[in-house]
Protein backbone atom coordinates (compact mmCIF):
# COMPACT_ATOMS: atom_id res chain seq x y z
CA UNK A 1 0.00 0.00 0.00
CA UNK A 2 2.82 2.40 0.82
CA UNK A 3 4.42 1.52 -2.48
CA UNK A 4 1.24 2.42 -4.24
CA UNK A 5 0.93 5.69 -2.34
CA UNK A 6 4.44 6.84 -3.14
CA UNK A 7 3.94 5.73 -6.72
CA UNK A 8 0.89 7.95 -6.91
CA UNK A 9 2.77 10.90 -5.40
CA UNK A 10 5.54 10.55 -7.96
CA UNK A 11 2.95 10.26 -10.71
CA UNK A 12 1.34 13.52 -9.59
CA UNK A 13 4.72 15.19 -9.50
CA UNK A 14 5.55 14.26 -13.06
CA UNK A 15 2.13 15.18 -14.37
CA UNK A 16 2.49 18.88 -13.52
CA UNK A 17 5.37 21.17 -14.44
CA UNK A 18 5.73 22.56 -10.91
CA UNK A 19 5.74 19.07 -9.44
CA UNK A 20 8.35 17.90 -11.89
CA UNK A 21 10.49 20.92 -11.12
CA UNK A 22 10.15 20.28 -7.39
CA UNK A 23 11.68 16.84 -7.91
CA UNK A 24 14.78 18.37 -9.42
CA UNK A 25 17.17 19.30 -6.62
CA UNK A 26 18.99 22.26 -8.25
CA UNK A 27 15.75 24.21 -8.41
CA UNK A 28 15.41 24.45 -4.64
CA UNK A 29 18.98 25.72 -4.26
CA UNK A 30 18.26 28.33 -6.88
CA UNK A 31 15.11 29.33 -5.08
CA UNK A 32 16.99 29.82 -1.82
CA UNK A 33 19.44 32.15 -3.52
CA UNK A 34 16.55 34.12 -5.00
CA UNK A 35 15.08 34.59 -1.52
CA UNK A 36 18.42 35.90 -0.23
CA UNK A 37 18.51 38.44 -3.03
CA UNK A 38 15.03 39.63 -2.20
CA UNK A 39 16.08 40.25 1.43
CA UNK A 40 18.85 42.47 0.08
CA UNK A 41 16.20 44.34 -1.88
CA UNK A 42 14.73 45.54 1.42
CA UNK A 43 18.08 47.06 2.34
CA UNK A 44 18.26 48.96 -0.92
CA UNK A 45 16.09 51.93 0.01
CA UNK A 46 17.64 52.93 3.36
CA UNK A 47 21.19 52.36 2.11
CA UNK A 48 20.55 54.35 -1.07
CA UNK A 49 19.03 57.26 0.85
CA UNK A 50 21.92 57.27 3.33
CA UNK A 51 24.50 57.24 0.54
CA UNK A 52 22.75 59.99 -1.42
CA UNK A 53 22.47 62.19 1.67
CA UNK A 54 26.11 61.49 2.51
CA UNK A 55 27.04 62.54 -1.03
CA UNK A 56 24.91 65.71 -0.99
CA UNK A 57 26.46 66.86 2.28
CA UNK A 58 30.03 66.06 1.27
CA UNK A 59 29.62 67.93 -2.03
CA UNK A 60 28.37 70.85 0.01
CA UNK A 61 24.87 71.19 -1.43
CA UNK A 62 23.52 70.88 2.09
CA UNK A 63 25.01 71.59 5.47
CA UNK A 64 23.55 68.62 7.29
CA UNK A 65 23.42 70.50 10.56
CA UNK A 66 19.89 69.41 11.52
CA UNK A 67 20.01 66.16 9.56
CA UNK A 68 23.56 64.89 10.00
CA UNK A 69 24.94 62.50 7.36
CA UNK A 70 25.48 58.85 8.35
CA UNK A 71 29.22 59.25 8.72
CA UNK A 72 28.76 61.91 11.40
CA UNK A 73 26.24 59.75 13.31
CA UNK A 74 28.60 56.78 13.24
CA UNK A 75 31.45 59.01 14.38
CA UNK A 76 29.35 60.31 17.28
CA UNK A 77 28.36 56.77 18.26
CA UNK A 78 31.99 55.71 18.07
CA UNK A 79 33.13 58.71 20.11
CA UNK A 80 30.55 58.01 22.82
CA UNK A 81 31.59 54.41 23.03
CA UNK A 82 35.32 55.31 23.11
CA UNK A 83 34.87 57.49 26.16
CA UNK A 84 32.72 54.79 27.76
CA UNK A 85 29.86 57.24 28.09
CA UNK A 86 27.64 55.20 25.77
CA UNK A 87 28.00 52.08 27.92
CA UNK A 88 27.03 53.91 31.11
CA UNK A 89 23.84 55.04 29.39
CA UNK A 90 23.16 51.62 27.85
CA UNK A 91 23.57 49.89 31.20
CA UNK A 92 21.36 52.39 32.97
CA UNK A 93 18.60 51.89 30.41
CA UNK A 94 18.99 48.12 30.30
CA UNK A 95 18.88 47.85 34.06
CA UNK A 96 15.66 49.83 34.23
CA UNK A 97 14.00 47.81 31.49
CA UNK A 98 15.13 44.53 33.05
CA UNK A 99 13.87 45.45 36.52
CA UNK A 100 10.57 46.84 35.24
CA UNK A 101 10.07 43.90 32.90
CA UNK A 102 10.77 41.37 35.65
CA UNK A 103 8.28 42.96 38.03
CA UNK A 104 5.60 43.68 35.42
CA UNK A 105 5.88 40.29 33.72
CA UNK A 106 5.83 38.38 37.02
CA UNK A 107 2.72 40.24 38.19
CA UNK A 108 1.11 39.81 34.77
CA UNK A 109 1.79 36.08 34.69
CA UNK A 110 0.50 35.47 38.22
CA UNK A 111 -2.65 37.59 37.93
CA UNK A 112 -3.28 36.48 34.35
CA UNK A 113 -3.00 32.83 35.34
CA UNK A 114 -5.32 33.31 38.32
CA UNK A 115 -7.93 35.16 36.33
CA UNK A 116 -7.71 32.68 33.46
CA UNK A 117 -7.99 29.64 35.70
CA UNK A 118 -10.75 30.71 38.09
CA UNK A 119 -14.04 32.26 37.13
CA UNK A 120 -14.50 33.82 40.55
CA UNK A 121 -11.11 35.49 40.52
CA UNK A 122 -11.72 36.78 37.02
CA UNK A 123 -15.00 38.37 38.04
CA UNK A 124 -13.23 39.89 41.02
CA UNK A 125 -10.08 41.17 39.29
CA UNK A 126 -10.78 41.75 35.66
CA UNK A 127 -13.14 44.76 35.80
CA UNK A 128 -10.72 46.71 38.01
CA UNK A 129 -7.72 45.85 35.87
CA UNK A 130 -9.56 46.71 32.68
CA UNK A 131 -10.52 50.07 34.15
CA UNK A 132 -6.90 50.74 35.15
CA UNK A 133 -5.79 49.73 31.67
CA UNK A 134 -7.93 52.50 30.20
CA UNK A 135 -5.72 55.08 31.94
CA UNK A 136 -2.80 56.15 29.72
CA UNK A 137 0.17 54.81 31.67
CA UNK A 138 2.10 58.08 31.44
CA UNK A 139 -0.64 59.68 33.52
CA UNK A 140 0.72 57.78 36.52
CA UNK A 141 4.03 59.62 36.34
CA UNK A 142 3.25 62.49 38.74
CA UNK A 143 1.77 60.10 41.27
CA UNK A 144 4.71 57.71 41.03
CA UNK A 145 7.12 60.59 41.55
CA UNK A 146 5.21 61.74 44.60
CA UNK A 147 5.09 58.24 46.02
CA UNK A 148 8.42 56.82 44.98
CA UNK A 149 10.67 59.84 44.48
CA UNK A 150 12.35 61.03 41.31
CA UNK A 151 15.00 58.34 41.21
CA UNK A 152 14.98 54.74 40.01
CA UNK A 153 11.91 53.42 41.83
CA UNK A 154 9.40 55.61 40.01
CA UNK A 155 10.96 54.83 36.62
CA UNK A 156 10.95 51.09 37.23
CA UNK A 157 7.35 51.32 38.44
CA UNK A 158 6.25 53.06 35.24
CA UNK A 159 7.97 50.45 33.07
CA UNK A 160 6.44 47.66 35.16
CA UNK A 161 2.96 49.11 34.62
CA UNK A 162 3.60 49.26 30.88
CA UNK A 163 4.78 45.65 30.77
CA UNK A 164 2.05 44.33 33.06
CA UNK A 165 -1.03 44.85 30.90
CA UNK A 166 -0.07 43.05 27.68
CA UNK A 167 1.30 40.15 29.71
CA UNK A 168 -1.79 39.94 31.93
CA UNK A 169 -4.18 40.09 28.97
CA UNK A 170 -2.15 37.62 26.92
CA UNK A 171 -1.85 35.01 29.65
CA UNK A 172 -5.49 35.24 30.79
CA UNK A 173 -6.70 35.07 27.18
CA UNK A 174 -4.43 32.13 26.39
CA UNK A 175 -5.75 30.11 29.33
CA UNK A 176 -9.35 30.89 28.45
CA UNK A 177 -8.83 29.74 24.87
CA UNK A 178 -7.17 26.39 25.65
CA UNK A 179 -8.85 23.70 23.55
CA UNK A 180 -11.54 22.00 25.64
CA UNK A 181 -10.92 18.82 23.65
CA UNK A 182 -7.36 18.55 24.91
CA UNK A 183 -8.48 19.21 28.47
CA UNK A 184 -10.85 16.27 28.04
CA UNK A 185 -7.91 14.04 27.17
CA UNK A 186 -6.49 14.96 30.56
CA UNK A 187 -9.81 14.10 32.22
CA UNK A 188 -9.94 10.72 30.51
CA UNK A 189 -6.58 9.89 32.06
CA UNK A 190 -7.85 11.21 35.41
CA UNK A 191 -5.24 13.92 35.95
CA UNK A 192 -5.54 15.89 39.19
CA UNK A 193 -6.16 19.64 38.96
CA UNK A 194 -2.50 20.34 39.51
CA UNK A 195 -1.33 17.80 36.93
CA UNK A 196 -3.90 19.06 34.45
CA UNK A 197 -2.42 22.54 34.84
CA UNK A 198 1.15 21.29 34.49
CA UNK A 199 0.72 18.73 31.73
CA UNK A 200 -1.96 20.36 29.56
CA UNK A 201 -2.71 23.99 30.40
CA UNK A 202 0.90 25.14 30.79
CA UNK A 203 2.25 23.74 27.53
CA UNK A 204 -0.89 24.81 25.68
CA UNK A 205 -0.54 28.46 26.72
CA UNK A 206 3.24 28.72 26.24
CA UNK A 207 3.22 29.98 22.64
CA UNK A 208 0.77 32.76 23.43
CA UNK A 209 2.62 33.50 26.66
CA UNK A 210 5.81 34.05 24.68
CA UNK A 211 4.00 36.45 22.37
CA UNK A 212 2.59 38.30 25.40
CA UNK A 213 6.07 38.58 26.91
CA UNK A 214 7.46 39.90 23.65
CA UNK A 215 4.88 42.64 23.37
CA UNK A 216 5.47 43.39 27.06
CA UNK A 217 9.17 43.79 26.40
CA UNK A 218 8.46 46.09 23.48
CA UNK A 219 6.32 48.29 25.69
CA UNK A 220 9.04 48.19 28.34
CA UNK A 221 11.42 49.86 25.88
CA UNK A 222 8.76 52.39 24.98
CA UNK A 223 8.19 53.32 28.61
CA UNK A 224 11.86 53.52 29.52
CA UNK A 225 12.15 56.44 27.11
CA UNK A 226 9.21 58.17 28.77
CA UNK A 227 10.66 57.45 32.20
CA UNK A 228 14.04 58.86 31.24
CA UNK A 229 12.52 61.96 29.71
CA UNK A 230 11.20 62.98 33.11
CA UNK A 231 14.52 63.83 34.60
CA UNK A 232 17.32 61.32 34.49
CA UNK A 233 21.05 61.90 34.67
CA UNK A 234 21.91 58.83 32.64
CA UNK A 235 20.32 56.40 30.19
CA UNK A 236 19.74 56.51 26.46
CA UNK A 237 16.62 58.60 27.03
CA UNK A 238 18.78 61.15 28.81
CA UNK A 239 21.06 61.21 25.75
CA UNK A 240 18.02 62.09 23.65
CA UNK A 241 16.95 64.98 25.91
CA UNK A 242 20.52 66.18 26.23
CA UNK A 243 20.95 66.11 22.47
CA UNK A 244 17.85 68.21 22.04
CA UNK A 245 18.83 70.76 24.66
CA UNK A 246 22.41 71.05 23.40
CA UNK A 247 21.31 71.11 19.76
CA UNK A 248 23.15 67.92 18.82
CA UNK A 249 20.99 66.02 16.33
CA UNK A 250 23.79 63.53 15.71
CA UNK A 251 23.66 62.51 19.37
CA UNK A 252 19.87 62.10 19.20
CA UNK A 253 20.15 59.89 16.13
CA UNK A 254 22.99 57.92 17.73
CA UNK A 255 20.80 57.28 20.77
CA UNK A 256 17.87 56.25 18.55
CA UNK A 257 20.08 53.77 16.74
CA UNK A 258 21.32 52.43 20.06
CA UNK A 259 17.69 51.99 21.16
CA UNK A 260 16.83 50.13 17.97
CA UNK A 261 19.79 47.77 18.33
CA UNK A 262 19.14 47.20 22.03
CA UNK A 263 15.44 46.51 21.52
CA UNK A 264 16.10 44.09 18.70
CA UNK A 265 18.81 42.36 20.73
CA UNK A 266 16.58 41.95 23.78
CA UNK A 267 13.74 40.62 21.65
CA UNK A 268 16.05 38.14 19.93
CA UNK A 269 17.36 36.95 23.29
CA UNK A 270 13.81 36.41 24.52
CA UNK A 271 12.96 34.50 21.33
CA UNK A 272 16.10 32.41 21.62
CA UNK A 273 15.48 31.62 25.28
CA UNK A 274 11.88 30.53 24.72
CA UNK A 275 12.35 28.74 21.43
CA UNK A 276 12.96 25.29 22.96
CA UNK A 277 9.62 25.61 24.79
CA UNK A 278 7.57 26.14 21.65
CA UNK A 279 9.59 24.00 19.26
CA UNK A 280 6.59 21.78 18.59
CA UNK A 281 4.50 24.58 17.21
CA UNK A 282 3.14 24.14 13.73
CA UNK A 283 3.54 27.67 12.42
CA UNK A 284 5.38 29.53 9.75
CA UNK A 285 7.24 31.57 12.34
CA UNK A 286 10.33 29.39 12.29
CA UNK A 287 10.75 30.29 8.65
CA UNK A 288 10.65 34.01 9.38
Amino acid sequence: MTGQASGRAAGDAWSSPEGAAALAAPHSAEKRRAVDLRVLLGLFLPVAIALIWEGIVSIGWAQGRLVPPPSRIVATLWGLSETGELWTHVWATLWRVAAGFAIGAAAGIVLGALSGASDTIRRLLDPTLQALRAIPSIAWVPLFILWLGIFEASKVALIAVGVFFPVYLGIAGAILSVDRKLVEVGRVFRLSRFKLARRILLPAVLPEAVIALRSGLGLGFMFVVAAEFMGASEGLGYLLVDGQQMGKPDQILAAIIAFALLGKLADSLLMLGTKPLVRWQDTVRERL
Binding site: K181, L182, V185, R187, V188, F189, P203
Partner: protein, 261 residues
Amino acid sequence: MLNLEHLSKTYADGTRALSDINLSVRESEIVALIGGSGCGKTTLLRLIAGLDRASAGAIRLDGTTITEPDAAIGIVFQEPRLLPWLTVTDNIAFGLDGVGAAERRERVGHALAKVGLSEHADRWPRDLSGGQQQRVAIARAFVTNPKVLLLDEPFSALDAFTRASLHEHLLGLWEETRPTVVLVTHDVQEAVTLADRAVVMQPKPGRIFDELPLSLARPRDKSGPSFDSAVRRVLAALDQSLQTQHAPKREQDRQAAALWW
Protein backbone atom coordinates in the same frame (compact mmCIF):
# COMPACT_ATOMS: atom_id res chain seq x y z
CA MET B 1 -19.51 -7.07 31.85
CA LEU B 2 -20.67 -3.60 30.89
CA ASN B 3 -24.32 -2.85 31.67
CA LEU B 4 -26.34 0.17 30.59
CA GLU B 5 -29.61 0.34 32.50
CA HIS B 6 -32.46 2.65 31.48
CA LEU B 7 -29.91 5.23 30.42
CA SER B 8 -31.27 8.64 29.38
CA LYS B 9 -29.61 11.91 28.62
CA THR B 10 -31.33 15.25 28.13
CA TYR B 11 -29.01 18.16 27.47
CA ALA B 12 -29.40 21.48 29.24
CA ASP B 13 -31.11 22.98 26.18
CA GLY B 14 -33.81 20.29 26.28
CA THR B 15 -32.41 18.06 23.51
CA ARG B 16 -33.34 14.46 24.28
CA ALA B 17 -30.17 12.80 23.05
CA LEU B 18 -30.82 9.37 24.59
CA SER B 19 -33.88 7.76 26.05
CA ASP B 20 -34.06 4.48 27.95
CA ILE B 21 -31.00 2.69 26.57
CA ASN B 22 -30.57 -0.87 27.82
CA LEU B 23 -27.55 -2.81 26.69
CA SER B 24 -25.27 -5.49 28.11
CA VAL B 25 -21.86 -6.05 26.63
CA ARG B 26 -20.01 -9.24 27.53
CA GLU B 27 -16.35 -9.23 28.45
CA SER B 28 -14.14 -9.16 25.34
CA GLU B 29 -17.13 -8.60 23.09
CA ILE B 30 -16.86 -6.08 20.24
CA VAL B 31 -20.10 -4.15 19.76
CA ALA B 32 -20.68 -1.82 16.83
CA LEU B 33 -23.12 1.08 17.29
CA ILE B 34 -24.64 2.06 13.95
CA GLY B 35 -27.10 4.82 13.23
CA GLY B 36 -27.66 8.06 11.41
CA SER B 37 -26.17 11.37 12.36
CA GLY B 38 -27.48 12.82 15.62
CA CYS B 39 -28.92 9.64 17.11
CA GLY B 40 -26.81 9.98 20.24
CA LYS B 41 -23.87 7.67 19.60
CA THR B 42 -21.23 10.14 20.75
CA THR B 43 -23.41 11.08 23.70
CA LEU B 44 -23.60 7.42 24.72
CA LEU B 45 -19.82 6.95 24.55
CA ARG B 46 -19.22 10.12 26.55
CA LEU B 47 -21.54 8.85 29.26
CA ILE B 48 -19.75 5.49 29.41
CA ALA B 49 -16.38 7.28 29.50
CA GLY B 50 -17.59 9.31 32.48
CA LEU B 51 -17.11 12.63 30.68
CA ASP B 52 -20.82 13.55 31.03
CA ARG B 53 -23.48 12.63 33.59
CA ALA B 54 -26.58 10.66 32.61
CA SER B 55 -29.95 12.31 33.33
CA ALA B 56 -31.38 8.97 34.42
CA GLY B 57 -30.32 5.35 34.60
CA ALA B 58 -26.95 3.85 35.41
CA ILE B 59 -23.79 2.49 33.82
CA ARG B 60 -22.21 -0.45 35.59
CA LEU B 61 -18.87 -2.04 34.85
CA ASP B 62 -18.54 -5.37 36.72
CA GLY B 63 -20.92 -4.07 39.34
CA THR B 64 -19.34 -0.67 39.99
CA THR B 65 -21.31 2.38 38.87
CA ILE B 66 -19.50 4.70 36.48
CA THR B 67 -20.03 8.44 37.01
CA GLU B 68 -16.60 9.82 36.20
CA PRO B 69 -13.56 8.77 34.13
CA ASP B 70 -12.28 5.39 35.18
CA ALA B 71 -8.90 3.73 34.70
CA ALA B 72 -10.62 0.65 33.30
CA ILE B 73 -12.24 2.63 30.46
CA GLY B 74 -10.33 4.12 27.55
CA ILE B 75 -11.68 6.20 24.69
CA VAL B 76 -10.51 7.14 21.20
CA PHE B 77 -12.26 10.27 20.00
CA GLN B 78 -13.44 11.02 16.51
CA GLU B 79 -10.39 13.29 16.08
CA PRO B 80 -6.93 12.08 17.16
CA ARG B 81 -6.65 14.74 19.92
CA LEU B 82 -2.89 14.25 20.26
CA LEU B 83 -1.04 16.74 22.42
CA PRO B 84 0.95 18.78 19.90
CA TRP B 85 3.80 19.52 22.33
CA LEU B 86 4.59 15.85 22.93
CA THR B 87 6.40 13.53 20.54
CA VAL B 88 4.64 10.39 19.32
CA THR B 89 6.30 8.35 22.07
CA ASP B 90 5.33 10.78 24.83
CA ASN B 91 1.78 11.01 23.52
CA ILE B 92 1.38 7.25 23.75
CA ALA B 93 2.95 7.28 27.22
CA PHE B 94 0.62 10.05 28.40
CA GLY B 95 -1.60 7.76 30.46
CA LEU B 96 1.28 5.73 31.89
CA ASP B 97 2.16 8.18 34.63
CA GLY B 98 2.28 5.69 37.49
CA VAL B 99 4.34 3.13 35.59
CA GLY B 100 8.11 2.72 36.03
CA ALA B 101 10.34 4.19 33.31
CA ALA B 102 11.65 0.86 32.03
CA GLU B 103 8.24 -0.75 31.80
CA ARG B 104 6.80 2.37 30.24
CA ARG B 105 9.43 2.34 27.52
CA GLU B 106 8.75 -1.32 26.92
CA ARG B 107 4.99 -0.94 26.64
CA VAL B 108 5.17 2.16 24.46
CA GLY B 109 7.71 0.52 22.17
CA HIS B 110 5.48 -2.53 21.84
CA ALA B 111 2.38 -0.45 21.10
CA LEU B 112 4.32 1.57 18.52
CA ALA B 113 5.40 -1.60 16.78
CA LYS B 114 1.84 -2.94 16.86
CA VAL B 115 0.45 0.10 15.05
CA GLY B 116 3.42 0.14 12.68
CA LEU B 117 4.87 3.48 13.72
CA SER B 118 8.20 2.46 15.25
CA GLU B 119 10.20 4.62 12.86
CA HIS B 120 8.08 7.66 13.74
CA ALA B 121 8.64 7.41 17.49
CA ASP B 122 10.40 10.75 17.91
CA ARG B 123 8.39 12.87 15.50
CA TRP B 124 5.87 15.57 16.33
CA PRO B 125 2.17 14.92 15.74
CA ARG B 126 2.11 17.76 13.19
CA ASP B 127 4.50 15.77 11.00
CA LEU B 128 2.21 12.72 10.81
CA SER B 129 -0.54 11.98 8.31
CA GLY B 130 -4.14 11.79 9.50
CA GLY B 131 -4.13 7.99 9.56
CA GLN B 132 -0.84 7.88 11.45
CA GLN B 133 -2.21 10.34 14.03
CA GLN B 134 -5.28 8.17 14.49
CA ARG B 135 -3.04 5.13 15.03
CA VAL B 136 -1.14 7.02 17.73
CA ALA B 137 -4.45 7.84 19.41
CA ILE B 138 -5.44 4.16 19.33
CA ALA B 139 -2.07 3.13 20.75
CA ARG B 140 -2.43 5.75 23.50
CA ALA B 141 -5.74 4.22 24.55
CA PHE B 142 -4.57 0.59 24.32
CA VAL B 143 -1.28 1.02 26.14
CA THR B 144 -2.98 1.47 29.53
CA ASN B 145 -4.71 -1.92 29.10
CA PRO B 146 -8.27 -0.74 29.73
CA LYS B 147 -10.99 -3.32 30.30
CA VAL B 148 -13.35 -1.35 28.08
CA LEU B 149 -12.34 0.57 25.00
CA LEU B 150 -14.67 3.11 23.39
CA LEU B 151 -14.02 4.09 19.77
CA ASP B 152 -15.99 7.00 18.29
CA GLU B 153 -15.84 6.71 14.50
CA PRO B 154 -12.06 6.58 14.69
CA PHE B 155 -11.62 5.80 11.00
CA SER B 156 -14.38 7.87 9.43
CA ALA B 157 -12.03 10.51 8.01
CA LEU B 158 -9.81 7.99 6.24
CA ASP B 159 -9.77 6.37 2.82
CA ALA B 160 -10.77 2.73 2.33
CA PHE B 161 -7.20 1.38 2.09
CA THR B 162 -5.97 3.09 5.23
CA ARG B 163 -9.12 2.05 7.00
CA ALA B 164 -8.64 -1.62 6.12
CA SER B 165 -5.07 -1.58 7.41
CA LEU B 166 -6.17 0.19 10.61
CA HIS B 167 -8.79 -2.52 11.13
CA GLU B 168 -5.99 -5.05 11.13
CA HIS B 169 -3.89 -2.98 13.54
CA LEU B 170 -6.90 -2.65 15.81
CA LEU B 171 -7.69 -6.37 15.80
CA GLY B 172 -4.00 -7.09 16.39
CA LEU B 173 -4.01 -4.96 19.51
CA TRP B 174 -7.36 -6.35 20.61
CA GLU B 175 -6.09 -9.97 20.36
CA GLU B 176 -3.46 -9.28 23.03
CA THR B 177 -5.60 -8.24 25.99
CA ARG B 178 -9.08 -8.80 24.57
CA PRO B 179 -10.77 -5.73 26.01
CA THR B 180 -14.49 -5.08 25.63
CA VAL B 181 -14.89 -2.72 22.67
CA VAL B 182 -17.76 -0.38 21.85
CA LEU B 183 -17.22 0.98 18.35
CA VAL B 184 -19.30 3.73 16.79
CA THR B 185 -19.40 3.64 13.01
CA HIS B 186 -21.36 4.76 9.98
CA ASP B 187 -19.85 2.03 7.88
CA VAL B 188 -21.71 -1.29 7.73
CA GLN B 189 -18.69 -3.07 6.23
CA GLU B 190 -16.58 -1.85 9.12
CA ALA B 191 -19.11 -3.09 11.64
CA VAL B 192 -19.26 -6.55 10.07
CA THR B 193 -15.46 -6.70 9.77
CA LEU B 194 -14.84 -5.94 13.43
CA ALA B 195 -17.87 -6.59 15.61
CA ASP B 196 -19.53 -9.56 17.32
CA ARG B 197 -22.81 -7.68 17.44
CA ALA B 198 -24.29 -4.67 15.66
CA VAL B 199 -26.59 -2.34 17.58
CA VAL B 200 -28.73 -0.16 15.31
CA MET B 201 -29.85 3.16 16.79
CA GLN B 202 -32.62 5.62 15.94
CA PRO B 203 -32.74 9.37 16.57
CA LYS B 204 -35.15 11.77 18.28
CA PRO B 205 -34.86 10.66 20.97
CA GLY B 206 -31.80 8.41 20.59
CA ARG B 207 -32.77 4.81 21.25
CA ILE B 208 -31.85 1.26 20.29
CA PHE B 209 -33.83 -0.03 17.32
CA ASP B 210 -32.38 -3.51 16.89
CA GLU B 211 -29.49 -5.78 17.81
CA LEU B 212 -27.98 -8.21 15.32
CA PRO B 213 -25.47 -10.90 16.28
CA LEU B 214 -22.65 -11.24 13.73
CA SER B 215 -21.25 -14.59 14.80
CA LEU B 216 -18.68 -15.03 12.04
CA ALA B 217 -15.41 -16.81 12.68
CA ARG B 218 -12.25 -14.72 12.99
CA PRO B 219 -10.21 -13.83 10.97
CA ARG B 220 -13.06 -12.77 8.73
CA ASP B 221 -13.05 -13.39 5.05
CA LYS B 222 -14.49 -10.28 3.44
CA SER B 223 -15.21 -12.00 0.15
CA GLY B 224 -17.08 -14.95 1.68
CA PRO B 225 -20.84 -15.40 1.35
CA SER B 226 -21.47 -15.26 5.11
CA PHE B 227 -19.80 -11.83 5.23
CA ASP B 228 -22.03 -10.60 2.43
CA SER B 229 -25.19 -11.89 4.02
CA ALA B 230 -24.24 -10.28 7.34
CA VAL B 231 -23.71 -6.95 5.59
CA ARG B 232 -27.09 -7.31 3.91
CA ARG B 233 -28.80 -8.10 7.21
CA VAL B 234 -27.36 -5.00 8.89
CA LEU B 235 -28.24 -2.83 5.90
CA ALA B 236 -31.81 -4.15 5.99
CA ALA B 237 -32.09 -3.34 9.70
CA LEU B 238 -30.73 0.17 9.07
CA ASP B 239 -33.21 0.65 6.25
CA GLN B 240 -36.05 -0.50 8.43
CA SER B 241 -34.98 1.84 11.23
CA LEU B 242 -35.14 4.76 8.82
CA GLN B 243 -38.54 3.72 7.50
CA THR B 244 -40.22 3.26 10.87
CA GLN B 245 -38.81 6.61 11.79
CA HIS B 246 -40.37 8.29 8.78
CA ALA B 247 -43.67 6.38 8.80
CA PRO B 248 -45.31 8.37 11.61
CA LYS B 249 -44.31 11.55 9.84
CA ARG B 250 -45.98 10.48 6.62
CA GLU B 251 -49.03 9.54 8.65
CA GLN B 252 -49.05 13.03 10.16
CA ASP B 253 -48.71 14.62 6.74
CA ARG B 254 -51.66 12.64 5.47
CA GLN B 255 -53.75 13.70 8.45
CA ALA B 256 -52.74 17.31 7.96
CA ALA B 257 -53.67 17.08 4.32
CA ALA B 258 -57.03 15.57 5.23
CA LEU B 259 -57.73 18.40 7.61
CA TRP B 260 -56.84 20.95 5.00
CA TRP B 261 -59.43 19.53 2.64
